[in-house]
């Protein structure tokens, strides 16, 4: 629902990350990590990104989303697992004292920039 705001933040961060010495730089790719539990729908983000990127150095950029699985560790018995459902009960000891190791990411990891020169 808030993917447009997120797309705009991505573009802002990407534009600010283009080195100042590059003239006519075009961003070709934005690499993004999105956790499975994050409240972001990649399809909506792609759609919003296309619109928000118009008239920016990202207008031809591809948004490359790596989905990060939901990984949980039980802090009582130390077992770790990848959860395919949002259930945070330890599969070994049935305890509820767990830590989320991954799955909440919403991070830009890098951009790929093309610089045109003579």
């Amino acid at each position: 629902m808030h993917e447009m705001g997120i797309a705009m933040q991505i573009i802002e961060i990407a534009v600010a990350s283009i080195p100042a010495d590059l003239k006519n730089a075009q961003v070709k790719k934005v690499n993004l990590k999105v956790g499975k539990l994050s409240a972001v729908v990649p399809e909506s983000l792609h759609f919003c990104f296309q619109i928000a990127a118009q008239d920016t150095p990202l207008c031809d950029a591809e948004l490359n989303i790596e989905e990060i699985p939901l990984k949980i560790r039980c802090t009582d018995c130390n077992v770790e697992w990848t959860a395919h459902e949002p259930v945070f009960i330890c599969r070994q000891c049935n305890g509820g004292s767990v830590k989320m190791l991954s799955g909440r990411e919403l991070d830009i990891t890098s951009i790929e920039v093309v610089d045109e020169h003579n």
């Binding site: 509820g96 990891t109 951009i111």
Partner: protein, 256 residues
């Protein structure tokens, strides 16, 4: 990723509609006679970095001024405002409260909350493009309307939405999610992030249970699947059933 699950499917189209990926030039190349270089620039930044930074500033400001902040979230119509009205009626004599209430339009909720002497600020997000959640910068601006020295408890009533508000830290101490018994028992499994990031759940409208086919035990179990250590208070904002435990818990957190 979007996943489409079909039940009682009658026909099945198989069509490869995937768009071709953009080609990726791995190194040097040439476009229209000009040379090009591709290079990867590492960033490693949270997309919501700006919000998180302002949220931390808010948190520090609240801490310095001795203000305890709760963020109350739920789907539309679960009874957030009614709960807060009743909560204020229990505590406003003893605790100096203030309220920030978010809605896309209208100041109806602020009007309902204003009767207890606590200052109330209504934020209408249509000025921010009809946003579906409150964010840290909005709270930072709204707080300018208060004298923080005169506030012990700041209550933020977020917009009715179980998705987006869960992603936006505002600098609060506690997050409270409200679920009402007129919603599905499986809401916690459908909106797990919300139930995971919250510190307590209020199961509201229990006065309606005799009239509903609602499995209250299943609702509580679903909350506990997502957040096994979360306290769940079964309440009715109409009859005030369960309010003693909820208010007592809140006061313990405030004074702790």
């Amino acid at each position: 990723m979007l996943e489409f699950i079909y039940k009682n499917q009658r026909h099945f189209h198989h069509k490869d509609s995937q768009k071709p990926h953009h080609s990726h030039s791995g190194g040097g190349g040439s476009i229209g006679g000009k040379n090009t270089d591709t290079r990867e620039i590492k960033i490693v930044r949270k997309v919501l970095d700006v919000n998180d930074t302002i949220a931390e500033q808010n948190r520090k400001m609240f801490e310095e001024n001795g203000v305890f902040v709760i963020n109350v979230m739920s789907s539309p119509g679960s009874g957030k405002t009614a709960i807060l009205v009743k909560t204020l009626s229990h505590i406003a004599q003893k605790i100096r409260c203030a309220v920030i209430v978010g809605d896309i339009c209208t100041s109806n909720d602020a009007d309902r909350l204003a009767g207890f002497g606590a200052p109330v600020v209504q934020v209408n997000t249509d000025a921010f493009g009809g946003d579906c959640h409150l964010a840290a910068h909005v709270i930072k601006t709204a707080v300018d309307n208060f004298n923080l020295d005169e506030i012990d408890l700041l209550i933020i009533e977020n917009l009715g939405n179980l998705v987006c508000p869960a992603e936006f830290d505002m600098g609060e101490n506690l997050r409270i999610v409200v679920l009402s018994v007129t919603e599905g028992e499986d809401k916690p499994l459908k909106y797990p992030l919300m139930f995971r990031v919250c510190d307590a759940a209020l199961l509201n409208k229990i006065d309606l249970l005799p009239y509903l086919d609602y499995d209250r035990e299943a609702a509580v179990q679903n909350i506990l699947k997502v957040n096994p250590q979360m306290p769940v208070f079964e309440i009715s904002a109409k009859t005030e059933d369960g309010f003693d435990s909820w208010v007592e818990w809140l006061m313990q957190k405030l004074h702790g």
